[in-house]
Symmetry: C2
Subunit: 394 residues, 2 copies
């Protein structure tokens, strides 16, 4: 090591992948604000404000609503391990990487897991969930609301009724959906819900918002065994976030500052305005991509506005395009995961990233990458189509 180690100077990207998304200056400023102690009255107030804002964003009155001190996958594990005791039956819908991950987590927690499966990019019908729930009689049904690996939106409202009529709890992954499309925790009666900070909330990764319904809390309180994970044990974590303020672990102070500011920005914009913005920029992007000859890999009714999964055209080199976007334009888009690897790109329009400026620059840059590889797209057509869409939807 040299005597002086040069300071870090990260490049300024436009983050149009599957997350993290771009971060507002206010959020970055909060990250760099002075650290206080985890029991400092100032931090306890930040926690109260964060809880209150999380409830608004999750659209819930759930008391047990907080930010888990880990990334979205820690939120997934927190929801599963608190609800599941060894031998409990759990049904998991696997139509992408994150449903597969949930089944894995549930198995490690000792659940008897029944997977229902759909090809990547498709979603589950209420009928098939009804059938498996009737057959298995699970304690918990786990579904992914917005599959980050495929760009598909799983409708949950009707399924929730079926799950509850069968006496089960509904666990939902809203990592990519929260803040970008409606997530109605109370309205849809979701029982355990986790999200991540680095998608449509536009905060850097590091925390996982979670919320548990009174039914889920009753299930946790009725446990006969300790939660498998000490770190994620809500029976203890809730005493730190609740009135007792009992020390559990040292909260990531500055990350919680950042989440507080990111949530403030969401609420200042308003959930409906934010969802409308995500939808508008998605439709403009889609108009532009279609004009360039690109198609989506998910059927129209289930396309996520914040995660546009598009089919890589024949003859185009996946990795070369993504490297050119990054190196020439500073734009990150995502490759495919699992069986989608090399077959799709995942173009994120999440939170701060979802702007008309970003839509236009991506279409312009992507066109150049495609043409550089001998692609057949009509020059200028992508930008023209997106601009025409914006002009028609001022």
């Amino acid at each position: 090591m040299p005597d002086v180690i040069p300071a870090l100077t990260p490049p300024k990207r436009i983050l149009m992948g599957p997350g993290p998304s771009d971060t507002a200056a206010r959020v970055l400023a909060a990250l760099g604000a002075p650290t206080v102690g985890h029991l400092d009255p100032y931090f306890l107030q930040v926690m109260n404000e964060t809880q209150s804002m999380l409830r608004q964003v999750f659209r819930t009155q759930n008391e047990l609503t907080l930010a888990v001190s880990g990334t979205g996958s820690a939120g997934m594990e927190a929801c599963v391990v608190n609800l599941i005791e060894p031998g409990d039956r759990m049904v998991v819908g696997v139509n992408g990487v994150f449903g597969g991950r949930m089944a894995d987590v549930a198995g490690r927690a000792g659940a008897e897991v029944t997977k229902i499966e759909r090809p990547f990019g498709e979603v589950f019908s209420p009928e098939e969930v009804a059938a498996v729930v009737e057959r298995v009689k699970p304690k918990v049904v786990g579904l992914v609301h917005a599959e980050t690996s495929t760009g598909a939106r799983q409708p949950l409202e009707e399924i929730s009724k079926i799950v509850h009529e069968a006496g089960a709890l509904l666990l939902a992954d809203t990592v990519t959906s929260l803040g970008g499309i409606p997530v109605e925790v109370d309205g849809w009666q979701l029982d355990a819900v986790y999200s991540g900070t680095q998608k449509c909330l536009s905060c850097p990764p590091g925390l996982a918002p979670v919320t548990f319904s009174p039914r889920a809390v009753a299930a946790i309180d009725a446990r006969k065994t300790k939660v498998a994970s000490w770190y994620l044990d809500m029976t203890m974590v809730r005493n730190y976030w609740g009135q007792d303020r009992a020390y559990h672990h040292t909260a990531p102070i500055n990350m919680n500052y950042a989440l507080r500011e990111a949530l403030a920005l969401v609420l200042e914009e308003g959930l409906e305005n934010r969802q409308a913005r995500h939808k508008k920029n998605h439709l403009a992007l889609k108009a532009g991509l279609n004009a360039l000859g690109l198609t989506y890999s998910v059927a129209e009714p289930y396309q996520l506005p914040m995660l546009n999964a598009v089919v890589i055209p024949a003859g185009i080199d996946d990795v070369k395009v993504r490297q050119q976007l990054l190196n020439e334009f500073g734009i990150e888009i995502g490759g495919g995961l699992g069986p989608m690897k090399g077959k799709t790109w995942r173009i994120g329009l999440m939170g701060e990233t979802s702007t008309s400026r970003n839509v236009l620059v991506l279409l312009a840059a992507l066109e150049r990458c495609l043409l550089d590889q001998g692609g057949k797209c009509p020059p200028g057509a992508g930008v023209a189509a997106a601009n025409a869409f914006y002009a028609a939807h001022r």
Copy 2:
């Protein structure tokens, strides 16, 4: 919620509790630097640099050395759940809150836990470890190098030989020691070691440096069952930190920036210089506290320089003093944990906090708090003694 939610403005504290400690401006600046993607070539380089610097700070060649995406307690859980399979025997030394926590974590992971116990503030002798290891024949022995709840330092070098001669692995908690007193992972042959960022590394909380010896890695590779925690499963996490760069979970980008900068500052100072600084300020503080009539609750040879546990004098109100320090002087010190609650204060001199300026201001402020409650300390004696110590040790 109002239309505009006022931005967060945390107070500037002097963090002299059991962590978090004060943070350098360079580290805070890195936290607020632009987020890049978790597979961005720039971030992969940051990870490489962080690993290399972690190895230097841990004094190890261990390949499996990385930052777990959670706080120190997640690091503890990561070490335990990767080494332990259900039914494995583990001996845990409990002489404070964190030893107790480790036993709890091990039990949840399915270990047959044998606790050896010492009163809070005492440490274990090689002989008693030899006796229990011979009797139990454990797979893993877990000890806390620096008990954050008591301020006691557990010597490990001799115990390590005993543990290895019995064919067991030694797991060590260095949350509070790393960067402040010697931690010789290879020299002492420690097998699984975790730390936290917010103590003597002076980075905000949120990550847990861990390192595993080749023996520990062999034990992980020989597992017959999956690691209980998906999030902390080193068989997968290592493929992201290793050459494969296989996506596991989205790393907390900005927290990793901060850790990289904090480690750079540690190495620029030099480990020996840094340890000497911690020792010097500890001795100055002790001279001052003794002059004020305060005594330590740990025997001299085992006192931690970065965590000074002192007995609260009879007639002095614990909470009132800590509130006055915080409200009048912006200084945080820690209360006692567990059976030490109300009996000791924990005064941290960790990382950036360990300066003569902080020692002097604490002695001056604490004197006022004690006198305000009718305490009998000789006015000015604390500062005078510390200044005399510094003058004699320039």
